[in-house]
Each structure stands twice: as structure tokens, then as C-alpha cells.
Symmetry: C2
Subunit: 97 residues, 2 copies
Amino acid sequence: MRRLTDDEITESVAGIDGWNLDEKFIVKRYLFREFLKGIAFVNEIAQLSEEQQHHPFISIDYKLVTLRITSWSAGGLTDLDFDLAKKYDEIFEKYTK
Amino acid sequence: MRRLTDDEITESVAGIDGWNLDEKFIVKRYLFREFLKGIAFVNEIAQLSEEQQHHPFISIDYKLVTLRITSWSAGGLTDLDFDLAKKYDEIFEKYTK
């Protein structure tokens, strides 16, 4: 997986909602109505991460879950990170209903 | 629940293994053999936290899970934090076998 150029990263970040660039990472905060809903979300993210062998940094601050992702093997952001960002958002969609 | 004095905190921290004082928090890092074992641990911690209505800050950096706890309502550390620290350690024990 090829590391993206700065221009490609700018374009890719613009194509996803609520994600911010933070050095070599993209970061998003997801807010849940209940603490255990956030934990259920983390479980889904964890299963997907393990299947893909691509693990985001996860933090849980009560009802606020933050995901931070990069491609260590490529030394920066790749298309895989942006594909996964979209998948995480799809998973989150279920929790907003 | 009464906020502990500095002396009480020093004594209580000495009574638990691997926990460090960080301003108003106590913090411990737990390392797991597998990513999904760390996630299982987080689930157990989350269930306990919800029962007690006392939620630690949790971060998951691949196989490394960090717990950070304080008593917001008391404005600092209380006996409850140290009781929970011991319970977290008991839960972790199962994952070391």
C-alpha cells in the first residue's frame, strides 16, 4: 500500500465527514447516547481491525470514543486508512438510530 | 465519598501494583498477548464501570490497554478509585494465564 502525497491526503480528508488530519493520522470523535453503546461500537471496530490487521488507536472517555488511524508499514496515510474511515462511519450510522 | 489527602494517596498507591499517580488520576498500562484479549478485558472493565457508575478513561493502543481513573464528583482520588484499581487487577489476572 503506497503512502499518499500531501495533495492526495487533502483531497481524501475532504471526502470523509468529521475526520481531521493530525500529522500522520486521521482522527474522529464519535459521541454516543450511552456508555455501553460506545463499547459495542468499539467491539465492532476491533473485530474489523483484527480481520484487516490494521488497528486504529482507540480511546474511550465515557460516551466519547476517539479513533486515530495511520498505516505504520507505509510510514503515513494510505488509501486503506480512508477506506477504513468510511467503514467506521458506516458502523457508527447504526448507533445514531 | 471523601477525597483522600496527599498522604493517604501516597499510602494507597504504594498498596497497588503497577499503578502510577498522575495529577488527579491513577494510571496503569496492561499489556496483552493478543489484541482481542485486550478488547475482552475492556469489555469486562466497561461492564463493571457501568454497574458502579464510575468510568475510567480507557485507551487501546494495539495490545496495550491503559486505564486512568479519578472521582470527578469528589474532585480527586477516593477510596473507590483504589478499590476499583484492585478489581481491575483481579480481572487482568485471568488474562495472564
